[in-house]
């Protein structure tokens, strides 16, 4: 079997002196969608930020596409083809939709789908209608779509998607799940963090469950859906 696209092992991370992650391990294969699951505060966001180089971290293994990420700053990691979509929809509110997309633009990358604003507007028709609008005047769902579209402009081969369904209306959640499936079909690999089992079960091939910064369980999504014990221990509120 070839090396997975992303391999994480023994990942530690800190906020200042607070030690948050302790030994996270996971892999994402090429073309695979993996759900990183756990309760609120389990460390999902921190895991994604640590991979991206946005928090202080150390790892036994942190490899992406054959490259070691552990010493690279965020912008270098992004340029290798890792796309990061934050949970709090950090769009640039002063910039228009088109300008937001422009900030994310990177040259096309072999082995990853190449995006243009036109292709993205086809994927997210809502955005097409508000190209010149500033971020301050968009709904939560629209902002979430824009955050995702903006990251796709960098033509990533791996997408780190933080709680894509959080705080969205049910209809928009469906659209979001649809978009993730389309991206998988285009050949993208995705690591997404989720609390919602239903969303994860719609899109993910495998799940990785963490609690208080430690890995607890990993396996196919279908197995997690069947295993009441694991769900009760680490996911039920």
């Amino acid at each position: 079997m070839s090396e997975p696209l992303l391999t994480v092992d023994g990942l530690q991370a800190w906020y200042g002196r607070a030690h948050i992650l302790d030994g996270i391990a996971l892999t994402v294969g090429r073309g695979e969608v993996v759900a990183l699951m756990g309760r609120n505060g389990a460390g999902k966001t921190t895991t994604l930020k640590a991979i991206m180089g946005l928090v202080e971290r150390r790892a036994a293994t942190l490899r992406f596409d054959g490259r070691d990420l552990s010493a690279l700053p965020a912008h270098r990691i992004a340029r290798l083809g890792v796309g990061y979509v934050p949970e709090d929809r950090r769009i640039f509110a002063d910039l228009t939709v088109e300008e937001n997309l422009e900030v994310g633009r990177q040259p096309p990358r072999p082995g990853a789908p190449a995006w243009t604003p036109e292709k993205l507007f086809a994927l997210f028709p809502n955005l097409a209608e508000m190209r010149g609008r500033r971020g301050t005047r968009m709904s939560g769902g629209e902002q979430q779509m824009l955050t995702l579209a903006r990251t796709l402009m960098g033509n990533p081969s791996l997408l780190l998607l933080d709680e894509p369904s959080e705080g969205l209306a049910p209809l928009i959640v469906k659209q979001m799940a649809e978009a993730v499936r389309r991206l998988k079909a285009e050949g993208l690999s995705v690591l997404l963090s989720e609390q919602s089992l239903s969303f994860a079960s719609w899109v993910a091939d495998r799940a990785c469950v963490i609690e208080t910064g430690r890995p607890r369980w990993t396996g196919p999504m279908t197995e997690l859906m069947a295993d009441d014990g694991v769900r009760a221990a680490y996911l039920a509120v």
């Binding site: 946005l54 965020a74 912008h75 992004a78 509110a93 002063d94 422009e102 633009r105 990251t151 960098g154």
Partner: protein, 610 residues
Amino acid sequence: MSFLLVQALSGLATAATLFLVSSGLTIVFGVTRIVNFAHGSFYMVGAYAGWSLIERFGGTPAGFWGSVAAAALAMGVLGAAMEIGLLRRLYRSPELFQLLGTFGVVLVVQDLTAWAWGPEDLLGRRAPGLKGSIDILDQPFPLYDLVLIGLGPLVLGLLWLLFNRTRWGTLVRAATQDREMTSALGVDPARLFTGVLFLGCALAGLGGALQVPRESVTLQMDMAIVVEAFVVVVVGGMGSLTGAFLASLLIGQLQAFGILVFPQITLVIVFLFMAVVLVLRPHGLLGRAEEVPPTAPATVTVPLSAGRHAGPWALALLALLAAAPLVAGDYALILLTEVVILALFAASLHLLIGLGGLVSFGHAAWFGLGAYGSALLVKHLGAPMPLALAGAPVLAGLGALVAGWFCVRRSGLYFAMLTLAFAQIVWSIAFQWYAVTGGDNGILGVWPPAWAAGKATYYWLTLGLCGGALWLLRRAAFAPFGYALRAGRDSGLRAESVGIDVRRFQWMAFVLAGTAAGLAGGLYAFAKGSVFPTLLAVPQSVDALVMVLMGGIQTVAGPLAGALVFHLLESEVMSLTDWWRLVLGLIIVALVLVFPKGIVGFLSGIRRRA
């Protein structure tokens, strides 16, 4: 009528220069969140470099404008170098460190410029093809100024295009809003910031080089312009280009007509205008409300323990100091007297910074006001020394009462800018009101009477008064007043929610600090026998900041150690060389980069580790 028109036009020409310089300052601030004190230095060096190039190549229009452009580009390169060498390490530092670090650059550049071009003012040649003037309603108006007037809007338009119609501009605006997210999208923020510094400093250099045909090039240009540019940027709204443009126009007119109405106090008008704008529109004319410049949290939160043994130690130190005249000669006593005075000055500033989290950039105002208060009482009313000394803290305290009311309305950088503005007001009164203050000749002959003229006697007097004042400041720090101040510093909102009127306590602290600094100033006047406007000027405020910084922000003993080290450095090391600005500037930069906790904090850190 035509006279007024020409006056308005010359106001527009001033505004154009002001805009070029302040647009650079506001761009740099908008992106890096650093108020670059050295911005005026790029203006000054731009003028010097422009002068040299124009002397050599400026005979033809192409040569002239090429020289101006080359000078601007050279300043851009220097600005980029400063970003890489210094600013990059300060983005996460408290604003005190940023202001001081860039002020260190001001000092270094001043000496290097004097070394390269000499101390004399330089007169440049006029712009070829634009030497004459045209008649506007029968009044002559210089052609060159007309070109400048056109240049302001042109540069505004070009900058607008740059920021709104290019990828680089879009990235810069994105990074201004969310640096981390921008880097997560694959943009190297460091390179972006270097580019921004290049642009900002090139604009300052352009403004400077364009001044060559209008006025002589001097070593004072840097501070003069940077303070005006601060006013423009604050009035316009920090980070807003259009705001800077608008504010430049207003201030240009204010200066052009103010000089007709109140020729003595043009500077005062400008600063008063700024204070009024800030009270009416706290974020400037076009500034954004939500922008609270993110400041790094207080570096360390070591609680100021009252120190069970502090009392005996302080008494022992006092006894030691009081015994000094038994062994020390006159020169050493003069030095010690000054150290004790400066210690009080620094401690009063420390009260604001360390306890209140209020970084004042104009603390010299109260020191100088005290000094002038004493000197004026002696000079004009023939007051005896005790009365003159009593008048010093009263006058300074009253001044601080008025200024404080404005200043504590804002925090962070705006507070620093407001205090700077008030200090400049007081300075310009001392500087411009010749009849009363003697202008830059100062007031001489402020000596103690015979009974206190002995060096030892005056030293003991100083020690007694300063020791008493320091004891009171320390009492205040550990009284409920001090705890309320600290609560306001650490979390203004939380303090408000438990019923502490933070602003009121800050105002009280401002007055207390001003009063104490005033006493120090009064003592200083009699120690030196004279007062000069420099006592009120920015460098004096910076000296106090450096003393506090050397001693460490979080320790009460810090300012004392800082005053001692600083004054010894100043009088024993820097006096040995003509290049004391260079030395001091390098010391400041090194301090800011190496000892973010100050000397005392550094030593106690070592002790704790050992």
